[in-house]
Symmetry: D2
Subunit: 116 residues, 4 copies
């Protein structure tokens, strides 16, 4: 069976309900937990050059994947809290970014939109 | 038409390809960008109490949703870089967490697994 | 002998020079390292209430102190890189903040200056 | 008059007392605020190469200095909360790091102590 956003969300919420953890999961805590996981992800790349960060060994890649999963889990709790349709929000954000970064002005440039 | 993980990923990658930004998107930079977005999310809740963080006004909720989208976008670039099937990784992580946090020991507790 | 900012800075730089690590310490890496240490600090308080965060046990306090030292060490490398007189900058920032947050408007309020 | 750690700490605490902000400054909030400032610092270097991060323009350097001051201010509140003698803690940490990273093993290497 194909896993989709709805079914993975249900599994994540069910995991929490089984442990009665919603009481700890206010948005403030969830956002902090997400930030901590983002730091654990960054730790894998710290002191590496750009090239080295693209050339991880097997164990490092496994750690990356686990951190990506952790980040998504907290993201899902936050989406659930705010009744957010994640993919809809992403579509809106892509459209907004497309207006901030028109192709002809931003192509090949790492400048921020207010510096273009 | 229903948006799924594959189609949203394609849109995110296409947005980047149109702007020739893959050159800046090494995993080190992407993880740092994700961490910065996570901090922007946290900023919305800073100085708020737990209860206040559950009771945002309309504008704050809109900001939250936009930050959640930003985080997911960087997460998607990282999954793409590491050929990661995000939902598969999440399922593996839930199973791993279920072993670290058995229901009978962790129910109603915010302790870490090594303190249970 | 009293340790002051100059002497502690010298010790921190000497530690690095002995190990030939300046090559890895570009500002980008240093700022990322500092952010990771800040996350390790936050991890001690995660899932705790405000009151619990003020009531740590002995081991937790020791961890906090160690993280505070780590953060200061990276801060010092960055000050060194940018020839920054840290205490002078702090004085300037306090004055700037005093203008943004006049006592009569900000007293007892956690609002940001642009919401006062 | 020379500013030292004690006098700068007093100024930082006095700024807060004048505004009655200690009520918001539990360690959990302070650590989160510090993390957010660390992210604002990193934002200056995002998408830059290592070399570019060493070659900032005047405005960027001013922003860096201001972020360094912000980080130190939150660090000071945390030291105050935990009755921490910051420089003493740093000396202890340097000694601890010297044991984890003996010069002969770590010279010129960015490896973590447990990989040396």
């Amino acid at each position: 069976m194909k896993i989709d956003l709805r079914s993975i969300t249900e599994k994540i919420i069910q995991f929490r309900n089984n442990r009665d953890w919603a009481q700890y999961h206010d948005p403030k805590n969830l956002s902090q937990a997400l930030g901590i996981e983002a730091a654990e992800l960054q730790e894998i790349f710290l002191w590496k050059t750009s090239d080295e960060s693209r050339d991880l060994n097997h164990d490092e890649i496994e750690r990356v994947k686990e951190e990506l999963a952790d980040i998504f889990i907290y993201l899902t709790y936050l989406c659930h809290e705010f009744n957010t349709d994640l993919f809809e929000e992403v579509l809106k954000k892509i459209e907004k970014n497309a207006n901030k970064y028109p192709i002809e002005k931003s192509k090949g440039s790492s400048k921020k939109y207010n510096e273009l």
